[in-house]
């Protein structure tokens, strides 16, 4: 259950982030907005990975559905934000519920490949439904409410939405539901014996993940003033999967660190050299070989060492 120090720490982080625009760097504000969006995206994926022990290769589908739905409703149909954002999130959740219904019948790599197959169908729809999505030209020219058109306004909006999203995920993952999921991950057979409907619980987890993935996607589409089919492609799914693995799947906050680390590394290495894949590859290699539990493992190790001395 939420301990007071966790709450205090979270509040301090949010407060510090809220002070960021005062520093006066537009670039820092934009970059942080991007990191926040990816953090929510990665966190949502970890509801499947960390809490049910199955990896998904198709999480970009829900990200893209959220992003496309929100931006299309805002722009093509002139819906207000207060309607289009919830609608987009609900739609992503609904699609995740349908896809999840089929996927949770499978486990391990078969589960992963089935999520990939469904996600590529979503990509195919975004690609071919040109009249609505703009096809591979992308959907650009998004109309935003005046308040969000300014980068600082959008930053605060993102911060608020992500903070609420993270809090909601925290509550879900630490509820009886979340604990049951952990039990399933650790031993599905035993969980089944004590009366847990494992398939149903995993289905619920899949739906939750898709819903919050859709929320992240909606934030992403509005931030970029555009959605592109590349954001539904399997490479986007792989990217967020790497974020989660990099951060560490057995901790709630791990994916947040992973998302921040990977996105910042990708951004900064590109500034530094056109051979950024080599630099990024080497950094990842070191992390993999030295920190088998992901970045969060490093934090735990440091803490353990400090505890000893």
């Amino acid at each position: 259950m939420p301990q007071r120090r966790h709450l205090v720490a979270s509040a301090i982080v949010v407060l510090l982030l809220a002070l960021l625009p005062l520093a006066g760097s537009r670039y820092a504000v934009d970059l942080t907005t991007e990191v926040l969006i990816y953090a929510l995206f990665a966190l949502s994926l970890n509801v499947i990975i960390g809490f049910t022990g199955n990896i998904s290769f198709g999480h970009a589908a829900y990200f893209a559905i959220g992003g496309y739905a929100c931006t299309i409703l805002l722009t093509t149909y002139n819906w207000p934000l207060a309607a289009s954002l919830p609608a987009a999130v609900v739609l992503a959740g609904l699609v995740a519920a349908v896809v999840g219904y089929f996927c949770v019948r499978l486990t391990q790599i078969y589960f992963a490949m089935l999520t990939l197959a469904f996600a590529m169908l979503v990509w195919g729809v975004a690609f071919k439904w040109k009249a609505v999505t703009g096809g591979d030209d992308g959907f650009t020219g998004i109309k935003l409410p005046a308040m969000l058109a300014h980068h600082v306004g959008y930053f605060y909006f993102t911060l608020a939405v992500v903070a609420v999203g993270v809090a909601a995920l925290w509550v879900i993952c630490h509820s009886a539901f979340g604990l049951t999921l952990v039990a399933i991950r650790e031993n599905a057979v035993r969980a089944g014996f004590i009366g847990v409907d494992t398939r149903r619980m995993r289905w619920a987890a899949f739906t939750v993940a898709g819903t919050f993935g859709g929320l992240a996607g909606a934030l992403f589409g509005m931030y970029h003033r555009g959605m592109y089919i590349e954001n539904a492609y399997w490479t986007e799914s792989a990217n967020v999967l790497i974020m989660v693995l990099l951060g560490g799947i057995y901790s709630f906050v791990g994916p947040i660190f992973g998302a921040a680390a990977l996105h910042l590394l990708q951004t900064f290495t590109n500034q530094y050299t056109p051979y950024w894949p080599t630099v990024l590859g080497l950094i990842l290699l070191v992390i993999v070989l030295a920190l088998p539990d992901g970045l969060i493992g490093l934090a735990a190790r440091v803490k353990a060492r400090r505890g000893r001395t």
Partner: protein
């Protein structure tokens, strides 16, 4: 569709299937034994094609020397990767291996750019295989016919190796219980290294054999890895003949599907996998995992 067209499409589907089988069989072997999801397999395929280009075109050696060179080079690269890096990861969280192979993809793509630049390349057909054979009512390219012969040969060779030799029994045992195997005095790490080497060499051969019929460009690794996984999964994990069957299904569905429903060609392999997994959740010849 006329009978001529049907025959042609069936033949081309087979040829595609056999080329894909060669690459996918290596992935299947590695996944079946090491349980590593090797994202870098597509990169090994690309290196196979590029090495063939260097040996056969730049150095002017015969094409099949290039194929052999690709197999040997990829085997050596894979052996080094396994011995120096990958083996440290078997006992750790297995998802970290996925992160590891992702890092490999980044490093190898840049290495390819440093070695070969960003130009696109072309490898000529080997002499005697660059034309077409007329069957009376239809002409078919010799090289595709050649691929149709090589695929089954590799399948049979792998079957003999895995099912009919002592080493093959060890490999199969390693997929079941490596602790027990080690207790029996088998050098399990070397079995793993050998499997990774052979599997990767097959990717190299697949790339080398694909080289004469496609353009060699950066990024040619990108979709091949998904297609290989699809073949392995629909066939049933770790099952050689399953992969063979999976490759046949893949080749025929892609060929006929593209002709009959071209609007769907981007997602055909994924649709195939979707249908197979919904009907047979462990692939065509796979068995449910006991866990």
């Amino acid at each position: 569709m006329t009978l001529t067209m049907f025959t042609l499409n069936a033949f081309y589907g087979l040829a595609l299937a056999m080329n894909m089988f060669i690459i996918a069989s290596g992935l299947n072997l590695i996944f079946g034994v090491l349980r590593v999801i090797n994202f870098a397999h597509g990169m090994f395929y690309m290196f196979g094609a590029y090495i063939t280009f260097t040996v056969a075109k730049s150095w002017g050696a015969p094409f099949f020397v290039g194929v052999l060179a690709a197999a040997v080079a990829l085997g050596l690269i894979a052996f080094a990767i396994e011995r120096l890096l990958l083996r440290h990861l078997y006992d750790k969280e297995h998802l970290m291996q996925l992160l590891f192979t992702f890092a490999l993809v980044l490093l190898m793509s840049d290495a390819a750019k440093m070695i070969w630049g960003t130009d696109q390349y072309s490898v000529g057909y080997p002499p005697g295989l660059g034309g077409a054979i007329s069957l009376g009512f239809v002409a078919i390219p010799q090289y595709q016919l050649f691929l149709c012969a090589v695929g089954p040969l590799i399948a049979i060779a792998m079957w003999l190796l895995v099912d009919r030799t002592r080493w093959g029994r060890v490999v199969r045992a390693a997929t079941q219980d490596r602790e027990m195997l080690a207790a029996l005095g088998v050098n399990v790490p070397m079995v793993y290294a050998a499997v990774f080497t052979i599997g990767s060499a097959l990717a190299g051969v697949g790339g080398a054999l694909a080289a004469p019929r496609i353009a060699l460009v950066p990024g040619m690794d990108a979709t091949i890895i998904n297609e290989c996984f699809i073949i392995v999964i629909i066939g049933g994990l770790g099952n050689l003949w399953g992969s063979f069957l999976g490759a046949l299904a893949f080749g025929l569905v892609v060929q006929f599907g593209t002709v009959l429903a071209p609007d769907w060609q981007d997602v055909l392999p994924y649709l195939l996998m979707l249908v197979v997994l919904l009907i047979r959740p462990w692939g065509l010849l796979g068995r449910p995992e006991t866990n």
